[in-house]
Point group: C2
Chain length 380, copies 2
Amino acid sequence: MTAVDPRRAAWAYLSQVVQGPCAPLNELVEAVGIEEAARAVRERDLPPVLQRRTEARRHIDTSTRDLELVARRGGRLVTPDDAEWPAWRMLGFAGIDVTRDKDGAAPLALWVLGEGSVTELTERAVAVVGTRAASSYGSTVTAEIVGELATQGFAIVSGGAFGIDGAAHRAALAVGGVSIAVLACGIERAYPTSHEKLLHTVASTGLVVSEYGPGVTPAKYKFLARNRLVAALSDAVLVVEAGWRSGARNTVKWGRRLGRPTLAVPGSVHSVASTGCHQMIRDGEARLVTRASEVIDEAGPLRLPVSGVEDGGRASDALVGDQLLVYEALPARGSRGPRELSEASGVPIDGVRGVLPLLELSGLIGSDETGWFRVRKRNR
Amino acid sequence: MTAVDPRRAAWAYLSQVVQGPCAPLNELVEAVGIEEAARAVRERDLPPVLQRRTEARRHIDTSTRDLELVARRGGRLVTPDDAEWPAWRMLGFAGIDVTRDKDGAAPLALWVLGEGSVTELTERAVAVVGTRAASSYGSTVTAEIVGELATQGFAIVSGGAFGIDGAAHRAALAVGGVSIAVLACGIERAYPTSHEKLLHTVASTGLVVSEYGPGVTPAKYKFLARNRLVAALSDAVLVVEAGWRSGARNTVKWGRRLGRPTLAVPGSVHSVASTGCHQMIRDGEARLVTRASEVIDEAGPLRLPVSGVEDGGRASDALVGDQLLVYEALPARGSRGPRELSEASGVPIDGVRGVLPLLELSGLIGSDETGWFRVRKRNR
């Protein structure tokens, strides 16, 4: 039994206390650091909202046992302290108003099985999700599209469930691709149990990820919170089949909030497994796609600005939507603050706040005490 | 052999001279009247553009023979002189710039088989079109949707072709509904020939319509011009199946230019007969629909203003798009001209000109020498 790093123990402890998204705790950690936050929770030295949220489990600290248990399974706890923490994948949460969407917060930390770096394996990733009651059409189309996406180097992110999720994981594995399963329970347990072997294979070649610590059992609200991580870890969300009230529509909702392109495959109007896809396309919540190349067309732009700076083209040409509006609202010389950018671009202030860090990561813009400004290319 | 009315003979003569859409001739007829226009064409007393357009056939006058031939078949020539002329169905053409879309003109006149009034039978109408190479899925979905639409009192307008068109006509007939076939050749000939019996049945319960006079044979460009009339005579354009380069996409194009809702049915991504539908949905050219009730939701609004004045609700609540923008731009008291309305509403001047007559027909607005004004309801 090795000594556990006290910082890591603090992350593990708080992860098990809140079990799921908790914006006020994220803020506290950001403000005072993880160890001080853990002390404050332990001693109930907290604002009322966090007192309520931590009351039930703050007296339970299984951090040492949890970290050792996960280590024995070949896993680890990945936190914002770690190089592999997928920081830029979490930027979209900055634009979500948690007073309206209380689960719209970045995860505190992620429990992970699998050898690869979370950041590296999700560098190019597409979420492929759908109904548990997949039709043979849905399974076939999943296999075709995922096979091509995985061959082209996209990691396939899904929820490990029956139906479309399982078909997506299997199709990625079948072509030697990377698959990432995001669970709504502890990573040491297989859910559904009959997917134990599948999830083991996913972990051995890709990742099994959860924000829930060891021992946490699945529950309806955890699946919904899990769906936001499926969207966050991906460049686009693709629904192959979804019934009228499918959880996949919830994943699409998160995809839209996080600024991810959301896509759906059409099917027969006689198939109940396609009704959710058709409704989302009708309502403009998802764009119709029929094949992998159309998915790649959509999944591309989010990443292009990040890599575009190095190549010959103008990286800003790759910007779309709010990114483009905000970038264009920046003056050629001088800087602007988020409020001015919101007024100039017509993008709501929350949207501006969500887009700015991504543009900064892409190297297109920078910030200083005067505000945000366009970065000039030295080699041009 | 009865004497032919000289006005009617003039319409028939000019219809055979131009054979298809001819905006300059429409303008001449509007300016000087049909008989004077016919004299001017005969004597080549014309602006250059009309000289070119009428040169080939201006010396041929088969009007008496054509009118008699059509009469013997139980048909007639319907012109703007007639009460049954579907004037308000042609209003959308006012918004089309014929210097860019040279075929975007109302037909000069319509050759018609069938007893019903063109205006009355097209009062509620949906165009249902698609590929000649329909799949069994497409034929089944056509039968289901058309069966419901026709039962609900919508006339089904189509092109009389093989595949989806034929399935649409048959499905309307099967439930005792009204079907309207718009041909790209003279109404005395059946095209395709194996649809002779079908077209005969369509004419005996609905209408067979063409802007081409007796003896005119089909040609590619005539099918394209015909498609604009399929759209014009309908409240919405529905494509059930369309291949990549289907003529149905051309009908959708006309539907969009004429301000009709354009709709498409999804299908399997493996079906080539659905590729055109999927592409139109992807590109925002058509909205996805899966059943008749969704079609009716879309086909409704165009008509509501026209009938809404009589019932209890505020008719202007039914206005959408440019209609609403233009109506709202009218002052509560006093009147405005089209140019002022364009500036106030943001709708281009051509769009304003296209919308005003429809609003007037609906009884919501009126016009006098000072411009256009809102009509106040006496009984409110």
